[in-house]
Symmetry: C2
Subunit: 367 residues, 2 copies
């Protein structure tokens, strides 16, 4: 099943509107050769008599001429297109990174070809292929699980690429993302300071996602220094409803312990602060947890469990959830800058750019 637009399949020819003016039309209209028009288009005014220049200007105006980028790209060998592969646009993180990318593209004169894998590994591969087919000059990849190393192991042939948030196994390319270790430390320190006696890190399946792996590891490392506080990691697979429910149920179990009033009686609310805190590995996880807790314990759930989450979506403020905000726009911007340098020929070793996160304290951790 081909789900990504494959190379123009045997398509029937199609009627075109009154056909756009071409450079030849303009040349004729201006009574000159195509060369001069081209020169005009490329701003080589120093080699154009004011008179000719004016005629060209007029002709272009009259014909509402727009140079065809495809043709230019074909001739020049560069088309100023870069691919932006996003794992999941429904995650605000992605949208924000995208904004940074767009800003940088504008500044550097690129046009981002945005591809949304919508969490489907298969899509991802197809899009990557498609991008090379459109001869993008480079790709920014927020990978899902890219297998094929159709990407450029910095230096070797292949298409220049920079990774965002996560590495791609076996691919030695530039990478920009959050300083996960520091961010985790920021989070655990906060939780510890709040006096929780048990902290469980909740994360989506992390084997194949480097950022998640690092967060998990960093969490475990950080907690090793305070053995008196119980630390654990729970996997919450958002793509698998049954598994997710089970994980959530397990979480309930832990929460239930040490809190022995009837969870169905909202009036019997805790007065003592919660003993356990959940540390969500990203916003989607936090959302799922909050939804679940809210359904199970009612709006007062924060009296029973602490919650800290990576990412800082708009709703976190509304729900009063403490978060670790990522410098998303900066990440996107930086990624394009890196890519630009690569496109321009930079051949240094792969670089790693980690930006710091920021802790936003709210009610969910006993604010």
């Amino acid at each position: 099943m081909s789900r990504v637009p494959s190379p123009p399949s045997p398509a029937s020819a199609t009627p075109m509107s009154p056909r756009r003016a071409t450079i030849s039309d303009v040349a004729r209209e201006a009574g000159t050769g195509k060369t001069s028009i081209s020169r005009y288009l490329n701003g080589e005014f120093n080699v154009l008599s004011a008179e000719l220049r004016a005629r060209i200007e007029a002709a272009i105006e009259r014909l509402d001429y727009r140079p065809n980028q495809m043709a230019r790209g074909l001739k020049r060998g560069r088309n100023r297109l870069i691919g932006m592969l996003l794992a999941d646009l429904s995650n605000p993180y992605s949208v924000e990174v995208l904004q940074g990318v767009e800003a940088a593209c504008q500044a550097l004169g690129y046009m981002p070809l945005i591809c949304h894998a919508a969490n489907e590994v298969e899509m991802e591969g197809r899009y990557l292929q498609l991008l090379t087919t459109y001869r993008v000059e480079g790709v920014i990849v927020n990978a899902l699980g890219v297998r094929e190393a159709m990407l450029k192991p910095v230096g070797s042939g292949g298409i220049p690429s920079v990774l965002v948030d996560r590495t791609v196994e076996g691919l030695d390319a530039d990478m920009v993302g959050l300083d996960n270790e520091a961010a985790v430390r920021l989070g655990t320190a906060h939780l510890l300071a709040r006096g929780y006696e048990e902290i469980v890190f909740v994360v989506q399946p992390y084997e194949h996602v480097s950022s998640r792996r690092r967060r998990v590891t960093a969490f475990q490392d950080a907690m090793r220094t305070t053995p008196q506080v119980r630390a654990d990691t729970v996997v919450l697979d958002l793509q698998n409803d049954d598994a997710a429910s089970a994980a959530l149920a397990a979480l309930d179990e832990r929460i239930g312990k040490g809190a022995d009033d009837d969870p169905n009686d909202p009036h019997e609310a805790h007065e003592a602060p919660p003993r356990i805190a959940l540390f969500a590995g990203n916003a989607p996880v936090a959302m799922r947890i909050a939804l679940h807790l809210n359904a199970r314990y009612g709006a007062q759930w924060q009296r029973r469990v602490g919650l800290l989450a990576f990412d800082d979506p708009e709703w976190a403020e509304l729900a009063g959830i403490t978060t670790i905000r990522q410098p998303t726009r900066a990440i996107g911007y930086r990624a394009v800058e890196f890519l630009h340098q690569r496109i321009e020929g930079l051949a240094d070793v792969a670089r790693d750019c980690v930006l710091p996160g920021e802790l936003i304290v709210r009610a969910s951790t006993g604010g």
Copy 2:
């Protein structure tokens, strides 16, 4: 100030990786002519001896050849690219519509060129221009305030286009969106049934956005039938913080009336249901309102005001807000189908496709 990637500015030539194989390379490698390769690429197997076909296959494989879409497009006159102009990707509505668009593109063999205006009218114009420069075959527009009618007034020259959610003044093109009138009726009927004595419709500046205008009008119309319930419309300009604060303050005024306990004392909560309900014109408005109410009255704000909102973002479930969900993906899908027909030459009069919304009742309206 040029903020959108302008046509490849006088850019310096750049080093290209080991250069990708071209059709000529493949022809040579396979010991045949380019024509046969082209035929192979286009699936005209019936005119290729099995032997030659195999040789070509091998050559392509060996050279890791990928046909250049730009070149194909140039020759063919169609490049299977369509533009998707989005007013604001940070609005979940847009992302969801986009998902529908992507799905349809995959099905129909198009590649969407996504342009994000990020709420800046200027950007919008530039992107539109850029899109024509890349010779997209059509555009799907979720407009912000397109001025230039560079779009195709169905039938006339110009680029085929279909509008999403909102019309573009003076442009007679296909349009697909929500059945706003029915949706508003759904909402007001619900609010009325809940017994609110006053309902105020809160909406972003609506002069230039058809969907908002229609919602406002429909609301006023609907409320005319029940003169005993006070109805009003308040504009909340999210782009202007001062104006927004003022509007919110005005809202507080109304809410305050008839509820005379200390808003700072959470224990003195109302027992009687709220007399007034807010009807948010879209999700961003609802978010702003919720944030404000939450800050002012605390988590218990729903005991003082009812809230109903257009759009159904994920956080609405968490916050327990009653919403009117739009068939977003269907809208996106449909838009592409319409556009496809236009591209294929359909020249009928402009069509209007309005899809029904769905009321999702939650706690915020006295659930």
